[in-house]
Symmetry: C2
Subunit: 483 residues, 2 copies
């Protein structure tokens, strides 16, 4: 596959004419929420709601059945009761619709009857040449096409670089709010459900050639075509990092996956081996998956595992150092030359060991520019972990009580933002990964600025250290795959 | 020690007359921020700023030196340049001040000269009978006494149940904002710095008899009196859970701790053994430390490791199951009797395996009351993990576009809050731990309500499962200690 246009997933992610079968004017209906989200995302194509009795659905003209739609839609979204899915699906085929998303559940995950129903789905698809996602999924989101078939609202400003394929709809939709906390978003996101036709491997291959996708996240309960997955993943991860969470390796996780998507899981050791063989970084939780995606999707590769921790708070420095060590990284002592360059920039109460600890600083220019520059230029370091804290609020609370500050607070805030811009430029100009962390969040303007300029600010020093460990692992696996 | 009044830490945490030595009217001065935070927390006692030239500091009358203060303060906070700390400390002793917090750094952590200075501090303390915290710390916070000597503002509504002792000031002060995200707070918090006089063991003993403290968090770079620590911790953890993070067990963490507080660390295995022997739960990160404190400070003990995962989203159910398994918990199949009771409460597309997965629900009363009641009453289960998601926003976006909803949205919001109240009552009425999780945050009124009623809502299913694992570990260790 050369471009996403080569994939049957392309029309599913970029439709112009969409039939929505199962929406109504009742809010407790899942199809209604889905149609409303398609509408509220400002989708540019045509929408054809299908409903057996209503003339209008959410203000759009509705059709009694698929055959009455005046054109041939290029995609059908099916969210009807299980018992009529097959009939509706066949009608779609008869109409000439060649792509579908089947949201309805009640198939393989629901026992023997369900298995038969799922086989029948596949038979109908083959008869009419339909390619589909699902059943038992939540659909897809493609912010660039303003297309969101899920039950959750997608914030349009969050078009992102993470391509996501998930057997859980929740880890597409409920992540909208998680990603928004960090200013991140999906490039394209697939909830594949039971993977009856298009599976994780198909979506992975598609995302591997997607130009908007800089990193791929996978949530896996069980692979359907392991050989194909391995073949594709080894190819994709040569240029796009892949991060995977796998839950089928424990007894409880395997049973849960079986009930959820009818997945057949394999032993943890086997999956671990597959991931390593494919250059896939494994995450232990969904939070970690997105932490790793953030780092791998924004930072250059590492040539080695030597990192510097830069902080002005001892505790965060020590926890970062401890976590980095556990994640397979090394904190070498700084070279004499680097120490010399830093000596006048770090207060006497600070430390020039690694971590480099300011303990306290009044000079933000040193903190944001001069010190990072020295560290970025040190060839004995392969990456930088930087802990951030800026006291704007503290300063604000002192206003009016103290002698005039050195600079007025508004200027100070502007100055901090300017420093962030310079800092990000400095980092981008060197080919060395830098991951930030802070217990301050995106509600702080300086954190938002750094994040929007492509500097990940993880929510804790330990999480930034583990993300750097993931970046190192990927760098080494990719080297092995491409050498 | 029977009560906190028996400890020399009591006057440090509950002073009436405080000398603040080193504040000025310049905002870039650390002492100024500290004095301002004492003032802005509405401290009820008297404050005596000491400054060599100023007549007023932040609007308060200032004194040229300690001897000029018209009364004998019961506490001195010293935040002056390193070179005059000893002189100021001696003046405090001469004045009759018997308790101090020494914030200034430049002691053991700063090399040989610093070591001598630190010995001299101790000598002066012994000469005058002064008990002190620090040096090289950030001081203390005691919300109940409205007393905060740190550089960060403490939100007064966050008086909490977590007693914290930390060698890092950051893990007191910068946690204010972290805890606020979850409606949590400190009962009392100590930044012990170099532990020259009062150390982690002293503070642990104090918190062990503090009635406002339901759980104790420790951030450790190295223990100064390990035998005493073990004796105290074994006693305290018989009734108050202790959660510890230790960073000195890796080469990088040990070096960082040495530079930070001059701590002498020990091998990871030794500390691991000490923790187990003392019934202390170990956390791998600061986030995890507070997750565990939340669970252990609010939930009853577990009799065994059998848990049910309750969810309406398959993915979060499967990740919780997988994480629970890895944390040493078991997800048994539900009994026939429990399945029978649940059959009509769970939709056909859902699952009665463990996880109990609704997949989708329209009946919030079943979700919040009827199903949890069945699980809480099942004697084959020792704890419940519940994943929460409530779609108020989705419903709001549909308003005005659909036929009248079953209930108006304001009533629906009220109804959800009422259900939360009933749910929390139900949980409290059974002696069984329940931990919630959600990717929705405290900005959602229903999450805030649950949290304020004592139901922890961890930020991810995996984190709730690991916190339940910590609760199980503590339950078993405590049983072994008290049997």
């Amino acid at each position: 596959m050369q471009t996403i246009q080569d994939s049957p997933l392309y029309p599913i992610m970029h439709p112009d004419r969409v039939a929505v079968i199962g929406a109504s004017n009742r809010m407790e209906n899942m199809g209604t929420a889905i149609l409303n989200n398609i509408l509220s995302f400002d989708f540019k194509g045509e929408i054809f709601p299908v409903h057996p009795t209503l003339e209008q659905v959410l203000g759009l003209q509705a059709y009694l059945n698929v055959s009455e739609i005046p054109v041939v839609p290029d995609l059908a979204i099916i969210v009807v009761p299980t018992r009529i899915v097959l009939q509706v699906f066949r009608e779609c085929g008869q109409k000439g619709i060649r792509h579908a998303i089947i949201i309805s559940g009640g198939f393989r995950e629901a026992g023997e009857d369900g298995k038969h129903r799922e086989q029948e789905l596949l038979r109908i698809a083959q008869e009419y040449g339909i390619r589909f996602i699902g059943p038992n999924c939540i659909g897809v989101v493609n912010p660039n096409h303003r297309f969101n078939t899920t039950m959750f609202h997608y914030n349009a400003s969050m078009e992102g670089f993470i391509g996501m394929v998930s057997q859980s709809g929740s880890f597409i939709t409920q992540m909208f709010m998680h990603l928004e906390k960090f200013g991140l978003g999906f490039s394209q996101g697939f909830s594949v459900g039971n993977q009856t036709d298009m599976d994780i491997a198909s979506c992975l291959e598609y995302l591997g050639v997607c130009e908007r996708t800089r990193v791929i996240g996978l949530y896996i309960e069980g692979l359907t075509r392991p050989d194909e997955f391995i073949r594709i993943a080894r190819e994709v991860s040569k240029k796009t990092p892949i991060v995977a969470m796998y839950v089928g390796g424990t007894e409880a996780g395997s049973r849960a996956g079986g009930s959820h998507t009818g997945a057949l899981s394999g032993s943890d050791a086997i999956y671990q081996g597959v991931f390593r063989q494919c250059g896939i970084v494994r995450a232990d939780s969904i939070e970690e998956l997105f932490d790793f995606c953030w780092a791998l999707g924004t930072q250059p590769l590492m040539n080695g595992n030597r990192v510097a921790v830069f902080t002005h708070s001892g505790g965060p420095g020590a926890t970062a150092a401890d976590a980095a060590d556990r994640a397979g990284l090394k904190l070498p002592p700084l070279s004499a030359k680097t120490k010399e360059k830093l000596r006048d920039l770090v207060p006497q109460t600070g430390s020039l060991n690694n971590p480099i600890d300011l303990t306290f600083t009044r000079n933000f220019y040193d903190m944001m520019i001069n010190i990072p520059r020295v560290l970025l230029e040190d060839n004995g370091l392969d990456g930088i972990l930087a802990y951030f804290l800026i006291f704007v609020d503290n300063f604000k609370r002192l206003l009016g009580k103290v002698d005039s500050p050195l600079i007025p607070i508004e200027e100070y805030e502007e100055y901090v933002i300017e420093l962030c811009v310079h800092f990000a430029k400095l980092v981008k100009s060197r080919n060395k990964p830098l991951l930030g962390s802070s217990f301050q969040a995106r509600s702080e303007p300086f954190i938002k600025k750094l994040e929007d300029l492509g500097i990940p600010i993880l929510p804790s020093p330990e999480r930034s250290a583990r993300a750097m460990g993931a970046l190192y692992d990927y760098s080494m696996m990719r080297k092995a795959l491409t050498d």
